[in-house]
């Protein structure tokens, strides 16, 4: 049986292709490229269509943001919610963050999931220091961010000893909330951060602040003054 090849759309030579979206034409063009027959303007166009230019930083950020290994590190009840993000329901593996690694040397992300006591803080700082750059930290839950219901002598907020990238509020945050925090961190790593909700909802200037005329020291009624060791 004889196979008869007919040029499409009345085109006779690949160099005369004017509609690059034409699949058959692109196929022929690619064939010519491989044969070394493509020349001149057609070659120029072929290269422009086939090559994606970007910066190294962007390419690296893209791969980093899609292959984060969090550290296997749970502090309290938030850790239960943290564990469930690798489950089937909120499958964090969709974003390549599912490899919870038990060694800080190979981990990229520290999720502080729970309250941090003054005795635990140096341990966490040491673990964070052992992680290799680039590294990120998520403060998960109220206790870790603002000491939550345990606002007393025994705890320390994470911002006091660690650079935190994303704070996830909640007590404890639902896995979806943590996933949202993870996606915000992903955007941050990719350099495609969106504006915060205040910008988005035209709410700049509505920040809650201390009452007029209240100094920080006045506000701190329950705070242990430095050097005062009453009862010691």
């Amino acid at each position: 049986m004889e196979i008869k090849r007919e040029p499409l759309n009345g085109l006779t030579t690949p160099s005369a292709i004017t509609a690059p979206s034409d699949f058959r034409a692109r196929q022929l063009q690619a064939r010519d490229m491989l044969r070394g027959d493509l020349e001149g303007e057609a070659l120029e166009r072929y290269v422009k269509e086939s090559v994606l230019t970007t910066t190294v930083e962007k390419a690296v950020a893209w791969s980093q943001g899609n292959s984060i290994w969090p550290l296997t590190f749970g502090l309290a009840c938030c850790a239960i919610e943290m564990m469930s993000i690798v489950g089937a329901r909120v499958d964090v593996a969709r974003f390549g963050w599912e490899a919870f690694w038990a060694s800080p040397r190979q981990a990229d992300l520290l999720i502080l999931s729970g309250r941090v006591s003054v005795k635990m803080a140096p341990v966490i700082r040491r673990i964070y220091d052992q992680m290799l750059e680039p590294r990120w930290a998520i403060s998960m839950g109220a206790c870790c961010s603002s000491m939550g219901v345990f606002n007393n002598y025994a705890l320390v907020p994470a911002d006091k000893f660690l650079p935190i990238d994303v704070h996830v509020p909640g007590c404890p945050p639902r896995p979806e909330a943590l996933l949202h925090g993870i996606l915000r961190l992903r955007e941050k790593i990719h350099g495609t951060e969106r504006d915060g909700w205040r910008e988005r909802y035209h709410a700049v200037g509505t920040e809650e602040v201390l009452a007029e005329g209240t100094s920080a020291s006045d506000a701190a009624i329950n705070v242990f003054p430095g050097g005062d060791t009453a009862g010691a």
Partner: protein, 170 residues
């Protein structure tokens, strides 16, 4: 739990052993037999109760009765496992020099609870083999469970009017 009569009999028995050891008894709300003991003779009392059958130290803990004096209380919850009787031994010490003898010779399990009472209330258990802080960091200053210790914490948005807002315990 011994009834009120039994508690008085026990107190008398202990007074016969050592006249200065028992300062009083308290039957509370009818749910707890308490012997108020002189802290100087607490080991005497515990030894006698141990011999009577209270061989299990269920709990050892501290209390701050601020502003009552003597402020600090050390409570021993004893259990007689044969008769399922419970009795509380309470010793009150001053904050100026809070010292009391250790019960670790009698109840080895008192080791960690005594360290915790020291950590939180500053009661020194004399004769304890390892009288250090157990929960707070070694360099922590003060005894955080005393009632006059500042609660501490971070000033947050509503701290400044925390005392006056609804729901604040006072």
């Amino acid at each position: 739990m011994p009834d009120a009569t039994e508690l008085e009999l026990t107190a008398h028995e202990l007074r016969d052993r050592n006249a200065e050891s028992i300062l009083g008894t308290d039957f509370g709300r009818g749910d707890r037999a308490v012997l108020l003991v002189n802290p100087a003779h607490v080991i005497d009392v515990l030894t006698a109760l141990h011999a009577k059958g209270y061989t299990f130290l269920a709990s050892l803990h501290g209390v701050d009765y601020y502003p009552d004096e003597p402020r600090l209380g050390v409570l021993y919850e004893l259990l007689d496992m044969q008769n399922v009787d419970r009795i509380t031994v309470k010793a009150r010490v001053h904050t100026d020099d809070p010292r009391i003898a250790t019960a670790t010779g009698l109840f080895p399990g008192a080791d960690f609870p005594e360290r915790e009472v020291y950590d939180m209330f500053g009661v020194v258990f004399e004769g304890h083999q390892d009288m250090r802080r157990i929960l707070m960091p070694e360099d922590f200053e003060g005894f955080p469970q005393r009632r006059d210790f500042p609660v501490g914490g971070e000033p947050v948005l509503f701290t400044y009017n925390e005392e006056t807002t609804y729901g604040k315990w006072s």
